[in-house]
Symmetry: C2
Subunit: 581 residues, 2 copies
């Protein structure tokens, strides 16, 4: 099947998915689901250009190409559709352009860098969409930072006009912010004074914890609609440098060359093509090549089944590059990521995600060993970091997560992170009656002990065993061993080991119970229990900042008929309940 | 004036305060304001007994003595009134019973330790009250931990029945949890399954980060209405020990004696009496001896003015003990604490708290030096830690905080923490026209460099200068020096230095602007900007957990007509919006 045909099928299929978007937030173009797959040829809002070791991402939002009906994306304001392209471009820089060593973010619009999230979009969006939109944009910003930290591609934000709200938050995700000094260029976080909400994409945390702006100056900055410009922006640490219009372009080029020269990126040689995912979307699920997602809507359960590798790992690094996007761990990561994002934004009624797998644990371990052996190769390195990000996305998904480890499954090495990321795991002792698949096995590998840190900086095993660090060592000693249910339970790796007699009832009761609980209560509970231990800028953004923003997004002062989000642009001032809470 | 007369005046006066409690949450007994002052003779819910070095706090809630109308405090369930007594008792242990070296918490009710926060109270309370109730109970639990950490009074919770929800959260604040093993004694956090909310008093964070319960076991525990008992409670780290009924009392006594013997408490008797605060409550404010709070309700501003010491510090430690509760820094801390709590719970429309002071900075510094010189004395030690807690309470107050440093003020040493705790500070250059008070001065002392850590473990100066730790050193070199506005600004200690021409307008515009912003947006903004840097269990409780709980407390699934809090006890099941957000 040709790529174009695949895409056509893909798009047609997307339209039969269950309609979850209501009149108040109707998707544009008659679409019934948000699609996270795109590619540069289809971008409406960004241009990705790579010149030698300098990559440039130019924001040029098509105001008529909003994801939902009812608003224009004026002044480089953005919605989720714009951010899906940005996230795609960042991913392609890793895999398709290993030669890129610096990224310059800029705007094609005169006198405006980016006006932030579109306000009419926010005003019309459901609470669930606003929350998930913010989560995704936060993940994309973290991805820009990870591109620098893990892949060695330092980023520069060249602000040639106004960077307001989400526009400045995008800049904050880069390593170096340059601001034009022409009297109009300014950075601002006007969310509170204008809209009665918080900067929702990490802005407050990056101001306080990344740029370490003094708290009282941050208070002034965040309550000043027009923002800060020129030398004061540098003095207050809001930007790294200002340059007058005449010298701006030269300075950007000079800095880009400097950063490229300093880049530790080890990559060489041609990249691989991130070819479109092959998937079939039906009313009850999505079938990919290595992943399937099945939606039991009455029970409010999504079952995601991961397929183990069909063959041994490639014979060499060159063979790995040749397989490219078809390489099993890369394909699986991309498909899993797409499935999770689809559920998050399109399947809002799903209460729990059940992870299952099918395959040979030994083959999965063989792939982990292959990636370890080739850890110095840029592609193996990028695949590990992609998995790291996908697993973080799983951790941050507001659905109950459960892994069922049954006969014939392959939760080994990298895939063993899924039961560890789950709120609970159930593992079968022995076999199901009348089944002759190999007995359920769990196996750890080197990858479980450092390759995939959570947002809080700990491995999932370190976080799990916060009380008993020696349990991490005991588990480490069992690397490579296929553990049966009782062994896995003795090591503390699973929640429950059950035999066939109890299995069906226990699992059913658990899933029914989960569907019966308050969805909001579960979101709060899981967000607290999943992240024991230290906090980082990332967890601060996803917990502290996000939770406050979610609260504010529920308050009448923001979203009520007289609230600021509803009244913005009407000429009427918002009316606030003056109680401080 | 006799103590009894003072109290009578006090109570009568409390009734003329502005009525802020509405029909849905009417205070019992015709009261119009919540009073945070109490004393053991007036307790309705607790008994404090000190026998040698063992203090026992026995919970025996008077179900007819609820703070609000409309509910009975059955089964040792509590409301804010119960917690006000608990907080008072903990404070008295520090000051009145320096000989106490261990605290045993227990219940006088048969087969029940504590049923947690009263559900009918929660169902009828305003959002603002629920949030502030949770904040105060969290502060009280942190106070129990601080009693152990800072004063060396280790605590034991003796659970002789069921400890549910807030009952178990109270236990979690102690150092050692003992559970009876009689088939009925159990610990549980049933908030999510029963009420669709989170344990709101630190429960989740203490389960994950203090007791380090494995996350999947914590998930099972927090979704199991009936909780966990016996050996499983020990195995899961939920309690420290179980003992059968026959041995329970003996074991409690044995443990208490052990802990008392290990206590590092340096105190030696006798304590001082925490005499009732002398205050006059009027419709527009409260006047204490060293503090006044003035409410400009139209402008939504509370001005808290702190009076510096009238005389030099006592000549000796013995003289300090003799002054007792009249000692200036102790009296000031208690009065400031009461004023802040009053505003939090009774003056919900106040947008900003303005801190002012009047007095001689040199006298304030002299008191700081006196406390430093007597740091080994139990009373000086307790006063420092009281100030630490009061300043944390200021940090955690959801109102905009601003300090005005004007001629005649005394923001020196301990009092200099107030501008540092404020969202902004303004300092006058020179004098106000026609005024002949001494020029505005700010002075730092040793106390600003370690005595008063914030919840995040940093001093306010370390947190302020996160980007430039050398600025802390520069400030340290200026200890003892009275700094004028321009010097203070050069050191980065204040936000704005203004002369008399600009002062009135700038301050007025700022306060008007603050009152015009969304109260919710400000709460979220300030909660994020005030706590740059590391997170601790305490900040996790006040930021991550609290913010999620606040969100859930706004969601229809909890508080709507069909929500769980409204339907609890009606026999009708709640109806949930099934969207996961």
């Amino acid at each position: 099947m040709s790529q174009a045909m695949g895409q056509a099928r893909d798009h047609a299929a997307a339209d039969v998915s269950a309609t979850v978007h209501t009149k108040s937030d109707r998707l544009a173009g008659g679409k019934s689901a948000i699609d996270f797959q795109t590619e540069p040829a289809r971008y409406r809002h960004w241009k990705l250009a790579v010149d030698g070791d300098v990559a440039t991402l130019t924001m040029d939002v098509d105001e008529k190409a909003g994801l939902f009906e009812g608003y224009d994306l004026k002044l480089n304001s953005y919605d989720l559709g714009v951010d899906i392209e940005l996230a795609d471009a960042i991913e392609r820089l890793r895999f398709e352009y290993p030669q890129a060593r610096v990224l310059v973010l800029r705007s094609a619009k005169p006198r405006v860098f980016c006006a932030g999230a579109n306000i009419r979009m926010l005003g019309g969006a459901s609470h669930a969409h606003k929350v998930n939109f913010c989560k995704f944009t936060n993940e994309t910003r973290n991805g820009i930072e990870d591109l620098s930290e893990s892949s060695g591609v330092k980023s520069i934000c060249a602000i040639n006009g106004t960077a307001a709200g989400g526009g400045y938050e995008l800049a904050l995700a880069t390593d170096y912010i340059m601001l034009g000094d022409d009297g109009t260029a300014a950075v601002s976080l006007p969310e509170l004074p204008l809209l009665a909400v918080l900067p929702g994409t990490g802005g407050l945390t990056r101001v306080s914890d990344k740029r370490k702006v003094r708290r009282d100056l941050a208070d002034v900055f965040c309550t000043t609609e027009e923002g800060v410009r020129g030398k004061r922006a540098v003095d207050w640490r809001l930007v790294d440098a200002v340059a007058p219009g005449s010298k701006f372009e030269d300075t950007v080029i000079t800095r880009a060359k400097e950063f490229a020269a300093q880049s530790p990126r080890r990559a060489s040689g041609p990249g691989i093509k991130l070819t479109p995912l092959k998937r079939t979307i039906s009313p009850t699920g999505i079938t990919y090549e290595t992943v399937s997602a099945e939606f039991a809507r009455a029970e409010r359960i999504a079952t995601i089944t991961l397929q183990g590798p069909k063959a041994s790992p490639p014979a060499s690094a060159d063979a790995m590059v040749k397989e490219g996007a078809d390489l099993w761990p890369l394909k699986l990561a991309r498909e899993l990521d797409d499935a999770i994002l689809h559920i998050r934004l399109n399947e809002l009624d799903i209460a729990a995600i059940v992870f299952k797998s099918a395959g040979d644990p030994a083959q999965v371990l063989a792939y982990d060993q292959f990636l370890d052996a080739n850890n110095d190769h840029w592609l193996a390195h990028e695949i590990r970091h992609l998995w790291k990000r996908v697993l973080k996305r799983v951790d941050l998904t507001s659905r109950s997560l459960v892994t069922l480890i049954e006969p014939g499954s392959c939760f080994a090495g990298t895939l063993a992170e899924l039961p560890l990321a789950s709120d609970r795991s159930y593992m079968l002792i022995g076999l199901h009656d009348g089944d002759n698949k190999p007995e359920a096995a769990l196996a750890l590998a080197e990858a479980n002990f450092g390759a995939y840190p959570m947002s809080n900086g700990l491995t999932r095993l370190e976080c799990r065993f916060l009380a008993t660090p020696q349990s991490v060592e005991t588990a480490k000693a069992a690397r490579g061993k296929t553990l049966d249910a009782e062994e896995a339970q003795a090591l503390g790796l699973i929640t429950f080991a059950l035999d066939d007699i109890d299995w069906d009832d226990e699992v059913r009761v658990f899933l029914e119970e989960r569907a019966s609980f308050s969805p909001d209560g579960l979101t709060g509970l899981e967000a607290n229990l999943r992240f024991a231990g230290p906090e980082t800028m990332e967890t601060k953004i996803f917990a502290r900042l996000t939770a406050w923003q979610n609260w504010i997004f529920q308050r009448p002062n923001a979203i009520g008929e007289d609230g600021a989000l509803k009244r913005y642009g009407t000429g009427q001032k918002p009316v606030f309940d003056t109680k401080r809470v």
